[in-house]
């Protein structure tokens, strides 16, 4: 009895701290080519639609071939609009520095709407960091 009360009290105290009940999800976008990256965009759109106004905290981590998404967006106005719409909903995009370097890309000219702050030193470490902060991991 005392143990259960203790557990309940401990839980209540931690949930009381959790003032922000946002859905926190990190998308691992590292897969082959623009078509897969596009399907990641669709996944996030679907999640936002399902959340129906519930606060969301979504990060898409682009690395490897996943970076193709932002190369395609340079050429494709429809994809640009979809990405902008996601950003307006509070979705963050992060791009691995290693992927940019290995593919000899200039983020200012080759990729759509990437700010220096969107570039993370190591994409995998970013996926780890966010999971350790309570983000749920999804690989589209």
């Amino acid at each position: 009895m005392r143990m259960r009360l203790f557990l309940a009290a401990l839980l209540f105290s931690t949930s009381a701290l959790a003032a922000n009940p946002a859905q926190r999800v990190v998308y691992d976008v590292g897969d082959g080519g623009a078509r897969f990256a596009r399907s990641a965009v669709t996944n996030v759109e679907n999640q936002l639609a399902a959340a129906k106004g519930t606060p969301v905290d979504i990060v898409m981590v682009l690395h490897g071939r996943g970076v193709d998404l932002l190369r395609e967006a340079k050429e494709d106005p429809d994809l640009r609009h979809r990405i902008m719409a996601l950003k307006r909903e509070g979705v963050h995009l992060r791009v691995g520095a290693g992927s940019i370097a290995r593919q000899h890309l200039d983020y200012r000219t080759d990729l759509f709407d990437v700010a220096p702050g969107d570039i993370v030193p190591n994409a995998i470490a970013e996926l780890v960091r966010l999971q350790q902060r309570g983000f749920v991991y999804v690989k589209p």
Partner: protein
């Protein structure tokens, strides 16, 4: 029962909570899997740990019990309030210790022992899951694990990395099949905090279905089930990366 005496409860608990060093772990796995009594004891400990974690996740809702309160219950309530205050203070202190991400975020599973330990020691625990036998996927998992281990090593961050291979992915760890035998050995020499784990279920299935007797590279340990291992580690606060 004889197996129960071979390891202390503390040791088995450390095993279940994955607090052992890789070499200790790989020593225990085969012994546990061959000793039925010991295996049962480990199963019970795991069940207990999972139940405790579930209790944190789904607390009993005490609201409807307040109606018939007695003096004794009042005492319990005072105790609970005290615990609540301690809990809030503790939670707040831990909370302050975590660097903010976007907003001062919440830690939904912060009550899980593994995550609290990880946050306190700053230890990164990362699990890679490989289920594909394609060479480029194998290379990818080794590249990503090595990049991460190097980063943590260079930044002096304590870390543990485990690559769990099941299904066709087990080819990465098959001594006569893997194209990366030398690289696996070199990575293991360089990073003792790296574990290669092969799924026992996959090994059994390959023997039964195809008559293949699997020989693993010496760096690989065997886990009862790749999927169960992935679930266990995630519950203990390990981050998950699918390759």
């Amino acid at each position: 029962m004889n197996g129960n005496n071979r390891f202390s409860d503390e040791f088995l608990n450390a095993f279940v909570d994955d607090q052992l060093a890789p070499e200790e772990k790989s020593r225990v796995y085969p012994i546990v899997s061959q000793d039925e009594g010991l295996n049962q004891r480990v199963c019970e400990l795991r069940k207990m740990r999972d139940l405790v974690q579930l209790a944190y996740k789904h607390p009993p809702m005490p609201s409807h019990r307040r109606e018939h309160r007695t003096a004794r219950r009042f005492g319990s309530a005072v105790a609970a309030c005290l615990m609540l205050m301690i809990g809030i203070t503790l939670g707040w202190l831990l909370h302050q210790g975590w660097p903010a991400v976007h907003a001062p975020g919440r830690q939904p599973s912060s009550t899980q022992s593994g995550l609290v330990a990880a946050a306190n020691t700053g230890e990164a625990k990362v699990l890679f899951h490989l289920s594909s036998g394609k060479a480029d996927r194998m290379r990818e998992v080794l590249d990503e694990a090595e990049g991460l281990l190097k980063l943590y090593h260079d930044t002096h961050r304590p870390a543990r990395v485990e690559i769990v291979a099941n299904g066709a992915g087990i080819d990465l760890l098959r001594a006569n099949v893997t194209p990366f035998r030398a690289r696996i050995a070199a990575m293991q020499r360089r990073y003792p905090n790296l574990t290669f784990a092969a799924c026992q279920n996959t090994i059994d299935r390959m023997r039964e279905d195809q008559g293949i007797h699997t020989h693993l590279v010496p760096q690989a340990i065997i886990v009862d089930s790749g999927v169960a291992q992935i679930i266990r580690l995630q519950r203990q606060g390990w981050a998950y990366i699918q390759v």
